[in-house]
Subunit: 438 residues, 2 copies
């Protein structure tokens, strides 16, 4: 498409908006994440000589002139981006990002932006649900081995941290993003020594203040008794199998009786928001949860229907809003802003999706300009700030929209002016639908 625009000398300024058409089942909101990586990409994306040579050799480009490859040689994103801050709850049809720039540039960056923002948003959302279920107990992201490749594991750790996790087992994510890292010990460590007591002592010797011992390699309660008999004082014990509710109660009882009231109970093993809520409802005295596969794959909803739609073209004379009307799907035309309103208690009450230039008193516009002339206007906020903003913004989202099952639908309205624009564009672009199949 880039080549087709260039060869046809089509250089209008385009605005694309990235949004999610429908929330996945059981999700009352999405928590945005991934903007920092999206902006890193927009600031640095270039084509290498090797990549250009590769493209030039593709048969599909046989009839494409040198001008296109020269264009790629000089390519960099020179446009403007408006975005919703990471860690903000958003809803169906609300733009998370708006890209405005020469149409070729705005087109080339589409796929990277979509996959980056929707993946991290999906994981941050799942993390927020898991953390909510844990009700104040710490949740550590634990799922790298089951992520969709090594890099997905690192990005999932970042998104999970934004969503409220206290840290990750992914040390690379700690290195790259400064996320706190947590490790316990695997069954193989116990198996390597064969003797469980010896493995516990060997491990605690090296990590006297941090040892979290895995106690289910052979027999969980027997392992607890050994720890007590040995006079060890591990920071925690990890349960990775069995009935967590009853097992954790008995483990807690034995630890307390054995004078290990300070030793924490860490639980893991195919957990998700629902199983965590269930064991806690049974009164399980669990202090920390390690959540892996279900979190880093958002297993019950492993994709978001993210789209990147052309909403406006500008040439020297005018703006031309664009919309799509195929099927039952409508894409609202024009550059938009999302206005968030609060009730008298300060809680979020509803949003209005409006034209970008509208003003709505007493409402907070969610999209702010983050990139201009292809460069960040200011550095991305530290991850810690994003995490705090997540907590604050989720606390302002009323409970019905945060329910883990059957959440209420948050009210998102379309402004009068935007509705009017849609009608104007519809009149101009609509074709008779009588010849349509089926």
């Amino acid at each position: 498409m880039a080549a087709a625009y260039l060869e046809n000398d089509f250089h209008a300024t385009a605005s694309f908006e990235l949004f999610v058409r429908n929330l996945p089942r059981q999700r009352g909101y999405l928590l945005t994440a991934g903007l920092e990586q999206a902006l890193d990409f927009l600031e640095t994306a270039r084509f290498s000589p090797e990549e250009i040579a590769f493209l030039r050799a593709q048969p599909v480009f046989t009839h494409v002139s040198d001008a296109f490859f020269d264009y790629l040689k000089a390519f960099h994103f020179s446009g403007e981006v408006w975005a919703v801050a990471e860690g903000t709850p958003v809803f169906a049809d609300e733009p998370l990002l708006r890209v405005t720039g020469p149409i070729i540039e705005a087109q080339i960056v589409e796929t990277f932006l979509l996959t980056t923002l929707t993946f991290q948003t999906m994981i941050a959302t799942k993390a927020a649900r898991v953390v909510q279920a844990a009700g104040g107990r710490g949740v550590v992201e634990f799922g790298s081995r089951r992520a969709h490749g090594p890099e997905a594991g690192v990005l999932a750790a970042r998104a999970a941290y934004i969503g409220g996790c206290m840290g990750t087992s992914n040390v690379e994510a700690g290195f790259r993003f400064g996320i706190p890292t947590y490790g316990t010990v695997a069954h193989s460590f116990v198996m390597a020594y064969g003797d469980e007591e010896e493995s516990f002592q060997r491990f605690e010797r090296v990590f006297p203040d941090h040892a979290i011992l895995l106690v289910d390699t052979y027999d969980t309660l027997a392992a607890i008794d050994k720890i007590i008999q040995l006079g060890m004082r591990p920071r925690g014990v990890r349960l990775d199998s069995g009935d967590l509710a009853s097992l954790s109660r008995e483990v807690r009882r034995r630890l307390d009786q054995g004078g290990l009231g300070e030793t924490k109970i860490f639980a893991s093993g195919d957990l998700n928001e629902h199983s965590i809520a269930a064991v806690l409802a049974e009164g399980a005295p669990i202090d920390f949860f390690g959540v892996g596969t279900e979190l880093v794959t958002s297993k019950d909803a492993p994709s978001l229907g993210g789209v990147y739609k052309l909403v406006e073209l500008r040439d020297d004379t005018a703006e031309h809003p664009r919309a799509k009307f195929s099927e039952d799907k409508v894409t609202y035309p024009g550059r938009k802003q999302v206005f968030r309103f609060r009730d008298p208690q300060g809680l979020y009450s509803h949003d209005i999706i409006a034209r970008a230039e509208e003003k709505h008193a007493d409402a907070e516009p969610l999209l702010t300009r983050v990139l201009d002339n292809g460069k960040r206007i200011q550095p991305s906020p530290p991850l810690q700030t994003v995490k705090e903003w997540t907590q604050e913004s989720l606390a302002h989202l009323p409970e019905p929209y945060r329910r883990l099952r059957e959440p209420a639908v948050y009210p998102v309205k379309i402004s009068q002016s935007l509705a009017q624009l849609l009608e104007e564009v519809r009149q101009k672009t609509l074709v008779p639908r009588t010849s349509r199949g089926s």
Copy 2:
């Protein structure tokens, strides 16, 4: 764990095996993929000075001596790897990979190996199902925008190609792996011109032999009529919405009547193996399928229960097989081989998981040595060869195991010698289970 082994002077040679405990629902087999990236990693993994400085600064390592960080400075994988060739069907409990080396090395590489092999295996398996459903019609992987981050999209394209896709829309995957790339045009291209006829002509002008026109931006059948009236001869048209069966029949009829019998019909839009099988069962004259989200996320089964288990320790005097007996899960001890047997027609009849040193006449051992002293024994086969091997090996897997729904369970047996070893190890490691909770 690496630090704990080093500080305790524990340097036995360990063997770990990577396998999947249970096949996901509706999967009769898994198709292995990802070995090339796993071996690339094992040959090149190092710790940078910055990474080591980061680790040293972690509070958890306060009591860890310099010896550990010196160890990391010199770290490289020096061991041996046996693996099943990419593109081979495997089943639950069968090792895809066996790593033998100093225990610290073999432990450090665990997470990368798991995520790399299980992700690509999951996607290759899904691709094989989709390609099977398409019954000889071409399938293009189309899902980068919905993959779990940009890198997951590239790796998914590779795995999908191994699984039988004819190519990908991910140009980076084309560049890195030589996978054929295919593109069509997006709705935004049509919307940019506003006038559908003009957009079609502009596009075909640049790609006279390759244009696949997207015809559903406004009205599919009206768009087909325009193409015919304009005298265009596109290579194909793409249907992305609507009832694909009835719509494709009417599109085919109009194209044929209009003298465009050579123009192919390309279908896309949230397709998977079941929806493809359904439209083809309705007689839809579709030539190619573009499959995205469902393929690159393996949406109905977005994770594989891959594990990496310690199976043997060797010191100077003896081999010590290891097994795990917690819960109902058993890990078979010792280094293993998978022997695949054929029936008189040459089709795969059953497998036997056996001890590595066993011999089974008339059976093919699936694991071969691919890495020695940390280096590949020979270069990885070209992707094209892997793809051909996939086709050949799947053709030898009887149909009941390849069914898209309710596949039969392929017979995988445990050799007598391995069963005996399990019993010996069980006798040595079993602890009384009477104190077990719940």
